[in-house]
Amino acid sequence: MSDFEYANAPESKAIANIAPNYGLFIGGKFVDPKKGKSFSTINPATEELLSKVGYGDKSDIDAAVRSARAAYTKIWSKMPAKERGKYLYRIARIMQERAREFAVVETLDNGKPIRESRDTDIPLAAAHFFYHAGWADKLEYAGFGSKPKPLGVVGQIIPWNFPLLMLAWKIAPALAAGNTVVLKPAETTPLTALLFAEVCQQAGLPDGVVNIVTGDGITGAALVNHPDINKVAFTGSTEVGKAIARSISATKKSATLELGGKAANLVFEDAAIDEAVEGIINGIFFNQGHVCCAGSRLIIQENVADEVLEKLKKRMSLIRVGDPMDKNTDLGAINSKEQLNKIEEISKTGDAEGANRWSPDVKLPTKGFWYPPTIFTGVTQSHRIAREEIFGPVLSVLTFRTPSEAIEKANNTMYGLSAGIWSDKGAKVLWAAKQLKAGVIWSNTFNKFDPASPFGGYKESGWGREGGRHGLAGYLASEAKVNK
């Protein structure tokens, strides 16, 4: 019994005008799919139908690529760079103006807490457009030669974990560099991309510069294999990333791939423990752990492990799980039944292989897809939960005795996307950062993103970088390599 209960604080859905049906956004207009097929998108927190969206097949992809090619040849590649920049600024401002609407739709479609879509996803998405708008007319000073050229038509496929933010990571640099785009949103989270299509119309973006074709993996494969795209940009699983790499291997298409991760979060004995605990929580429970750079392997120095774990458990007991639309919610719904099954399957191997599971006492809603915040202690390097990406609110805890052992364990993975270091000693932080094989390393913080900072991984975590000057490189060609 508590004297100090929090009241519900639900955000209103009234601002979200979700249409009952959406077509495909091709050539600046919403059009029906050629075969007339559609599929449902639901709210994962309630399993209620949100909308029916068009299912794009090969012929729709072809129409979208043609539209993007025409826009590239006739308009976008001829437009002065500063004019391109103006469109990007306009899009960024409209996204800010409609931020609340975007946040509500994102939370309804994805299941993430409104606090996160409101404070992280949408502001960062707008920030990416602002940042790249600034680059549009300064590309010749970016260090890619005096006359960097766009690639042409880019096929982009994005995941469901940060639907609008990943769209921004893809579309903003592509357009700034002068490319046109065909984008396929994730099957379970198409709505903010379709809202973004409305923003393109509102901004008066020339028809065909951005095309959005909703669908599933088959739609995505049709896009990757279309002969007239110059580049594939993909964020998603390593498995699909490998398939994409195979299918473009004999073509002139370039690719950037942002794939899985199994980040090590290293806590040294001299860390500020309370701060580290907050960072651990943020690292694994942010966005239900549906984060490719999530700090899913906690590696603690053995002499402080008990203290860290005790504090971590206390802190986990304070996580509020439930209605994503409630402004007090920390952990929302798992995005889909399929993902929930995957989390359950891999977590069960943790029990079977001898790790110890712990979750706070939480009441999960009966409808929708939910998983409690979970940690496994007594994990060894060989356990599946220490090797495979779970992509859910499940943390594997390991320990180390010496700094070199910490590095050895951290790097002993097929991934290398991100890592975290917790220590009050600067020299140790810099030393560890140098040893870690990961594209992004956070020191005494976690999950910090900025459009100016390149993001990407080593090994099976992907090819190339997104964001910053390095991210632009993936959308530009030196003169010798320009297509057509």
């Binding site: 508590s2 004297d3 100090f4 309370d274 005790e310 304070l318």
Partner: protein
């Protein structure tokens, strides 16, 4: 003043209300230990039930940690069972969170019943991050010793909303067992006025001008 407060309280039927007095060369804390001892003894003799002492920040910041510890210990000895001891850290002058944490531990080990952020004479005073650090300190001290030390943010908490934020900090950091006047208090007369105004609004449905509550 302690005397006057005690007499007046008794006269109007507030015999059960304790009287708190600042002591130890408040607010600077810059006097000899002998003077501080007399100051404290004087307040207790006059009927004070609570002593708010200030630490010597000069000593703390120059590294004479043991002097600070010894002062608190001696004052606590004088308070004995007669008076409750609050130790004011004056966090606005300690500046860093590391210092706040260190001073909190120092005070608790030396015998403080309460640790308090500020004298009210220095800004910034009871900021949320400082209170968080102090709440973490009492929580950890409790884990280590089983002893519960109180926390009192003072200064800078002017609105009901600010106060609610502080209560959330307590609930989520030290825990609900700290949500009692024996372990958590907020010092701020400005807050009282805002609280009265909010209650008036709850009753009448609209805000009155600030002049409808007194400012003393």
């Amino acid at each position: 003043m302690v005397n006057i407060a005690r007499t007046e309280l008794d006269r109007i039927g507030g015999k059960s209300l304790p009287v708190a007095a600042v002591a130890t060369a408040f607010p600077s804390g810059r006097a000899s230990l002998a003077v501080k001892k007399i100051d404290t003894q004087d307040a207790i003799d006059a009927g004070a039930n609570e002593i708010d002492m200030v630490i010597d920040r000069g000593a703390f910041l120059s590294g004479r940690i043991y002097d600070v510890f010894e002062e608190i210990r001696v004052i606590k000895e004088i308070c004995g069972k007669k008076a409750h001891l609050k130790v004011i850290l004056e966090t606005g002058e300690l500046v860093t969170y590391d210092n706040v944490r260190k001073a909190s531990y120092l005070a608790m080990i030396a015998g403080a019943d309460f640790i308090k952020t500020s004298t009210g004479k220095v800004a910034p005073a009871a900021t949320a991050p400082v209170v968080l650090v102090m709440l973490e300190a009492v929580r950890d001290y409790f884990t280590l010793t089983g002893e519960k030390i109180g926390v009192k943010p003072a200064g800078g908490i002017r609105t009901t909303k600010d106060a609610i934020k502080q209560l959330v900090l307590v609930k989520e950091t030290a825990g609900e067992q700290w949500l009692t006047p024996e372990l958590f208090r907020i010092g701020a007369s400005a807050l009282l006025n805002d609280l009265l105004m909010q209650r008036m609004k709850l009753r009448t449905g609209h805000y009155a001008s600030a002049n409808y509550v007194t400012v003393d």
